[in-house]
């Protein structure tokens, strides 16, 4: 599979342009954009390149609560970019119907915290649409976008990371970008992928992350993890906004002589086991970090798989530095979060095991 080519020794500085064998994206400079502007650009390109594509959800008409859909309604018209009633099961159900007729339905759920009413539609309809019909029908044109993750003050209902629920559903894909440039390319891939995709956007980065984003139409492949920092002593795996924190921990670990390899998983379902396996076979240690609560989190799947594949190469137990098993708290957020120091401590514990 393509994942095995050209990926293993690539070193890309996080938030800086790097090099890539197949893609021109990282050699080109572009405008400095934040995450919501990059996503906005991707949506403009998607709607421009396919007249049978639609963007809809709550409040997308005026630009959306996070401005990701700015300018779309004006440019493409209110019959292609429109507000929906406040009803996630309706939004996704309607999107499935549109996609089933061969359109691209790019649906926005206002916060990932509110995606659950649509869970039935996603699991029982979207994920099984092709399989149950014997491939007579499919809703591959469906892409569901939702902001996820901690934002500093979001509390229970504006901070959730629900990716683990969706990673347990055969038939859909789950993708989480780490930065503006990644988000644009990954989102375009998701939109064009012939399978229904859930795309979680780290809301913390909507304004915080700024990066040079090439202005042209480009895609970044799905189900290909990326080694964004090379190292020899321990492999760290993460996705989304957490990678920034993990990278800080890696920098500090390096000062203490620990060489960390950092991997951005990007696609959680189906995930690139081969890249992580190759890395752990080299380093002998694995640490996974995610904001979502540790129990049943996606880190458990990665841990179990790597244990199966790399048991004899492991020098220490797989470490998980994750959110705690509580609803996402407000005042206690700093205690809940998997912080740089928690990760750094875990790196040292693992290396000194």
């Amino acid at each position: 599979m393509a994942a095995l080519l050209g990926r293993s020794c690539r070193k890309l500085g996080f938030l800086s342009s790097g090099h890539g064998a197949r893609r021109t994206v990282s050699t080109e400079t572009g405008k400095s954009l934040n995450l919501y502007a990059a996503i906005n650009q991707a949506l403009h390109i998607a709607l421009d390149s396919d007249p049978r594509s639609y963007v809809f959800g709550e409040d997308v008409g005026f630009g959306g609560v996070f401005r990701c859909t700015t300018g779309l309604a004006e440019r493409f018209g209110k019959n292609r970019v429109f507000n929906t009633p406040l009803c996630e099961q309706g939004i996704v159900g309607f999107g499935i119907g549109l996609a089933a007729m061969g359109n691209r339905a790019i649906v926005e759920i206002q916060f990932a915290d509110y995606i659950y009413p649509a869970f039935d539609q996603i699991v029982n309809e979207a994920a099984k649409f092709r399989y149950r019909s014997g491939n007579q029908f499919n809703c591959g044109g469906l892409t569901i976008r939702a902001p996820y993750g901690a934002v500093g003050h979001g509390g229970h209902y504006h901070s959730q990371s629900p990716e683990a629920f969706f990673c347990h559903v055969p038939g859909i894909k789950v993708v989480i970008p780490r930065s503006p440039r990644e988000a644009k390319g990954l989102l375009l891939s998701c939109i064009r992928d012939p399978n229904p995709v859930v795309f979680f956007e780290p809301k913390w980065l909507y304004r915080q992350a700024v990066e040079e984003v090439p202005e042209h139409d480009y895609t970044i492949p799905l189900s290909e993890a990326e080694v964004i920092r090379e190292g020899n002593d321990i492999t760290l795996v993460g996705w989304g906004a957490q990678l920034t924190i993990m990278e800080q921990a890696c920098l500090e670990a390096e000062k203490e002589g620990i060489s960390c390899e950092l991997i951005d998983l990007k696609t959680l379902l189906p995930w690139d086991k081969e890249t992580v396996e190759a890395s752990v076979k080299k380093t002998g240690r694995l640490l996974i970090s995610h904001e979502a609560p540790i129990t049943g989190g996606f880190g458990a799947e990665i841990s179990a798989t790597i244990l199966e594949r790399c048991f004899l190469k492991l020098e220490a137990p797989v470490s998980r530095v994750c959110g705690l098993d509580t609803p996402f708290p407000l005042v206690f957020e700093p205690f809940y979060m998997p912080t740089k120091n928690k990760i750094l401590d875990a790196i040292k514990t693992t290396v000194n095991y």
């Binding site: 599979m1 994942a3 049978r52 008409g61 005026f62 309604a73 004006e74 018209g77 209110k78 019959n79 292609r80 429109f82 929906t84 009633p85 009803c87 099961q89 309706g90 996704v92 159900g93 309607f94 999107g95 499935i96 119907g97 549109l98 996609a99 089933a100 007729m101 061969g102 359109n103 339905a105 009413p117 039935d120 539609q121 029982n124 309809e125 099984k128 649409f129 092709r130 399989y131 149950r132 019909s133 014997g134 491939n135 007579q136 029908f137 499919n138 591959g140 055969p170 038939g171 894909k173 012939p194 399978n195 189900s223 189906p270 086991k273 081969e274």
Partner: protein, 457 residues
């Protein structure tokens, strides 16, 4: 309008946002590039307009109030809208209980050819149901669900549609497929999950689907198809097709959240979709009195701004006429229509159910005999000279023979190859599935006795 916006520029941020999006047009209808055919613009006004003239010359009681959503008259009395009308919404029918045309009834004329095909297909559906049901009882099929009592809804609605109208069924509408040309063999293939099944053996019996016949594959989840149908209808509208989406559901399905979601979306999106409710009195063992407290389904349409009609679902001619009329409205006016077809579920919910445990055998028998949709329509077509006893017995013996043959062939046709377990989960099997297939194949080699011998590897 523009003048007023500018003059109130300083008054609110909301207005500033509007100005920024000034091409969107304020107060224009939403989802078409031209002005909507539907007079909803009166609901689009979210600004309180300054009512300079009102109240000066008029009687205080005739004053109106202005809120987002538009103007409303006010009343100084505490008046509740009653939870139900005194009279139930009347039910449209054209043939009386004996199949005689009711004088002065309005209906859409149907040709002899169409009427005979309608009746023949109703008979075929009935025979197919009985034979499949018996086959399950004999252990030849794992499961089955009949459509007995609802043949007129199935066939007559299908007859009133065009082949390009896309169908989103629940699971008690195989007659629509039958009308469109799905063969008895194809039904049997799906029920046996053999290699000729369109669905590749993945689902339980009666979960039919056919892209050739524009019939989306059945999923057992209740009412999930309703919002899907609305999206499909919107697609048809945007592609300017002379077609609509049609979705079926039962009285039970109307309690699901997806029903509410779908109707609301359909109205707002001005989607050409027909919502056909088979109100057959039962959701497994739950009678409608435990399902809702409204006057059935027909009154719910208005709550969403949807035009609705109640029809005698056992009157094939009325069903045909209602669906035909609704379809034209839906497409030409770009609107959803709700059709409540009153009927009775004569059969059990499925082969896993014995409905005599919760309703009397007499009740079932009465509906089967006295209110049978087939006999009423038969009387009507015979009265036109379009049918005879001889044609009846010829048809029935022919269909029975065909069905038994279809069963026999389907039963002995081999199952789909094992690789079909892993394909179509995604467009292309990902690595984890390829690995799992390898593992399963190895396990089969070690323990062949654990696996059914009729699934080719």
């Amino acid at each position: 309008m523009a003048l007023r916006l500018r003059s109130s520029l300083s008054k609110s941020n909301f207005l500033n946002i509007l100005l920024r999006h000034n091409n969107l047009g304020f107060g224009t209808a939403s989802h078409t590039t031209r002005v909507s055919q539907n007079p909803i613009s009166r609901f689009c006004n979210t600004m309180a307009e300054k009512l300079s003239s009102v109240g000066e010359h008029e009687d205080a009681n005739a004053q109106v109030m202005d809120f987002p959503g538009g103007k409303v008259a006010f009343t100084p009395e505490i008046k509740f809208i009653s939870e139900s009308s005194k009279e139930r919404v009347p039910c449209y029918r054209v043939l009386d209980d004996n199949g005689k045309l009711i004088t002065n009834s309005h209906f859409v004329q149907v040709s002899e050819e169409v009427a005979v095909k309608m009746y023949s297909d109703m008979v075929t559906l009935q025979i197919m149901d009985n034979i499949f049901y018996e086959a399950q009882r004999q252990g030849r099929l794992s499961f089955y669900a009949t459509t007995i009592g609802e043949e007129a809804i199935n066939i007559a609605s299908a007859a009133a549609l065009s082949p390009q109208d896309v169908i989103f069924p629940q699971y008690r509408e195989p007659g629509v497929l039958l009308w469109r040309g799905f063969t008895l063999q194809e039904f049997a293939n799906q029920c046996f999950g053999n290699k000729s099944d369109n669905g590749k053996g993945r689902q339980m019996p009666v979960h039919y689907g056919s892209n050739k016949l524009n019939y989306f594959t059945v999923s057992a989840t209740i009412a999930t198809q309703l919002p899907n149908a609305v999206g499909a209808a919107y697609s048809l509208k945007m592609d300017k097709k002379d077609a609509c989406a049609v979705t079926y559901f039962g009285d039970g399905g109307s309690s699901e959240g997806d029903f509410h979601a779908a109707l609301n979306f359909a109205a707002v999106m001005e989607a050409p979709v027909l919502f056909i409710c088979r109100n057959n009195g039962w959701a497994i063992s739950t009678p409608t009195s435990d399902q809702f407290r409204s006057d059935g389904l027909v009154v719910k349409g208005r709550a969403y701004g949807i035009r609705s009609i109640r029809v005698d679902g056992n009157d094939a001619l009325a069903m045909y006429s209602a669906v035909h009329t609704a379809r034209e409205m839906a497409i030409s006016e770009e609107r959803p229509i709700l059709i409540e077809a009153l009927t009775y579920r004569v059969g059990h919910h499925s082969t896993s159910d014995d409905s005599t445990r919760y309703r009397s055998a007499d009740e079932i028998e009465w509906w089967n005999k006295a209110r049978n949709p087939l006999s009423r329509f038969r009387t009507w077509i015979e009265s036109n000279g379009w049918w005879s006893d001889e044609e009846e017995s010829d048809l029935r013996s022919r269909i029975k023979k065909e069905m038994l043959e279809a069963l026999r062939v389907a039963e002995k046709t081999e199952k789909p190859n094992l690789e079909n377990m892993f394909s179509d989960v995604y467009d292309v099997p990902p690595l984890n599935l390829r690995e799992q297939e390898r593992q399963v194949r190895q396990t089969i080699k070690s323990h062949p006795q654990d696996y059914p011998s009729d699934v080719p590897l």
